[in-house]
Symmetry: C2
Subunit: 334 residues, 2 copies
DNA sequence: ACTACTTGTCGACGCGTGTCGATAAAACTC
DNA sequence: GAGTTTTATCGACACGCGTCGACAAGTAGT
């Protein structure tokens, strides 16, 4: 592997000039820079990570706290990770994965102080999240995928709840549905809370009635939810699900009771990762979740922060797209 | 953060002695080592990653090539990753994630040569895998989760196909099933091929007849498989599925046709990650997949290899456990 | 008692980079 | 045109650790 010295020799400049030409911290004559870049390309030179970290105190390494998977988030986490990792690499950073145990927060600080880690990406954010509190106190740069209840100026990427919900509700409206229900989880993570209120808002704009059915993150609960719907609200013609796992159980329930989806009942799943779609029959109509992009965006925001590009936007909302598949149809006539 | 020099001072020894005391490359008086370790603990000293990598040419960083997810493997990949990462951390290594594009193989070599990466973990291994060929030629240490057709002396962790299959088949036998079918995917990865032959073997030992039904990795295909089974082999009383996604479709199909699982038909899924189980109703009887352990084992094997502990075992097979849930029952009487 | 090893420790150097201060040349200022 | 600032470049050093060679003290062999 070529070193800086070799590049310098080939370009006929000093080693430090190569540094400045590449990092742009001092003014360099344009022609010199070109010569350097050419030498870099010729030798296929890449700055050595370790040396850079040692000399500059910048590890160019991000840590992503990998979730335990308790909320079924594992199913989509890989997309986040892939996105975050790809973006990090594009900007010359590494992404390391840490299976997160709450107990290890202190260790993160140690790593950050020793320069081993430049910043942290968090996912599965709770409304009140002690990790966030801790990282702020420890002055470790971080970015969230999701957000706390009051994120203030903290960096985050989150789903655009309002946009996503509107896409779904408007589509149901266009099919003539006026009585809908939605499946939601009450969990501390806050996702469903935000979705829930966005949905009520969107529905009332379209003058729909919207029933709420509580589920937990299990297929069996989705099945129970179907039964509840069937008994209590037989006039509902469309269901919006905010929970992927329960969605699958809901479909099983409908099958069991002989209710045909989408002829008798439409179903639209918000915010569902691509992977899930192939898991159900009929294939789900969804507003999908741009997980890869969210991960990438988190990396970029975090790196901006680390590099003190504070002018850049550090709070991003992303909405997916409506993808019509097999679980939606025109509202049945009573 | 404390440095080696500070530890040396506190312990009243030279800096190099601290190094040797910690790494054990030279003989050190036991009492001295104790003093050093005490100082290390007192100062909460951790060797600086970057400096170590620079000086020793050892980055203590593993790269895991993250799969694209085309085979639905994304669903369990996170478990592998968490396991690999946890084990790596226990041994003082980092695990970085690389979303893998085939085109980037050359880059891996560059990184390895520059000492940035000490080794690579591969998953989603194909029978003939060009990545393996490449890494061997490039002399980059690697370990596979899965294995090629002829792994030779290459390091790998894989599922114990024979053990896993036997657990499943024996259990069905104990419930009185004699006519079974199995759902399998013919894909280049080789997993199903190995499972398939293990299954035929296990079934013939128990004097069962075993029908094979081909599926692809989609729910709809599982549904089609049910229909095929229903029409062609109505006397089958139990089904073994080797494909998680198709399993879910299969259940939908049964629901649709009014066949009750497990009363009319038993279903057992081999090698299914925990995450999946909550996604179906009734809950699946499975032989589960020890994904976390497999990931951890891959890291350990790879690190052994990097550190030239060549006496250690570098090929490991792991079987899951039979977990009886809601999809198996005694064979129906004809 | 002399050599020949072994054990335990130390000092010195190098890994490849980021960055500071110095310097020479060029560009302004009045 | 003397003084001042700006631009472009260079040399030197530090970052924290791994490791080699040196050396003193101890042990074994004759």
């Amino acid at each position: 592997m070529a070193t800086r010295a070799e590049v310098a020799k080939l370009a006929g400049v000093s080693a430090s000039t190569v540094s400045y030409a590449l990092n742009g911290d001092r003014s360099i004559k344009e022609e010199t820079r070109k010569r350097v870049l050419k030498a870099v390309a010729q030798l296929n030179y890449r700055p050595n990570f370790a040396a850079g970290a040692l000399a500059g105190g910048k590890s160019k390494t991000l840590a992503l706290l990998s979730p335990s998977g308790e909320f079924g988030i594992a199913l989509i986490a890989l997309e986040y990770i892939n996105g975050a990792s790809a973006a990090a690499r594009d900007r010359g950073y590494h992404l390391v994965i840490w299976p997160s145990q709450e107990s290890e927060l202190a260790e993160i600080q140690t790593f950050a102080e020793s320069g081993m880690i430049s910043g942290v990406i968090l996912m599965e954010i709770k409304f009140k999240d002690e990790r966030v509190t801790y990282l702020k106190k420890a002055k470790v740069p971080f970015a969230m995928i999701g957000r706390t209840e009051k994120p203030g100026k903290d960096s985050y990427v989150d789903r655009d709840f309002i946009g996503t919900t509107q896409l779904g509700v408007d589509y149901l409206d266009s099919l003539g549905h006026k009585k809908i229900a939605f499946l939601t989880t009450e969990r501390a993570v806050g996702v469903d809370t935000r979705f829930g209120s966005a949905l009520l808002e969107a529905a009332s704009k379209k003058k729909m009635t919207a029933r709420k059915i509580q589920v937990v993150n299990e297929a069996s609960s989705g099945r129970d939810a179907f039964i509840e719907l069937h008994k209590k609200y037989p006039d509902v013609t469309a269901v919006v699900s905010l929970n992927d796992i329960a969605t699958l159980g809901f479909i099983s329930g409908a099958n069991e009771y002989g209710i045909k989806i989408p002829k008798d009942l439409s179903l639209i799943a918000l915010d569902t990762p691509e992977n899930h779609i192939e898991m159900s029959w009929p294939p789900l109509t969804t507003v999908n979740l741009p997980a890869f992009e969210m991960g990438a965006s988190a990396s970029n925001i975090l790196i901006d922060q680390i590099e003190h590009k504070e002018n850049k936007q550090n709070q991003v909302l992303l909405a997916g797209e409506l993808v019509v598949r097999g679980t939606t149809a025109k509202a049945r006539k009573e």
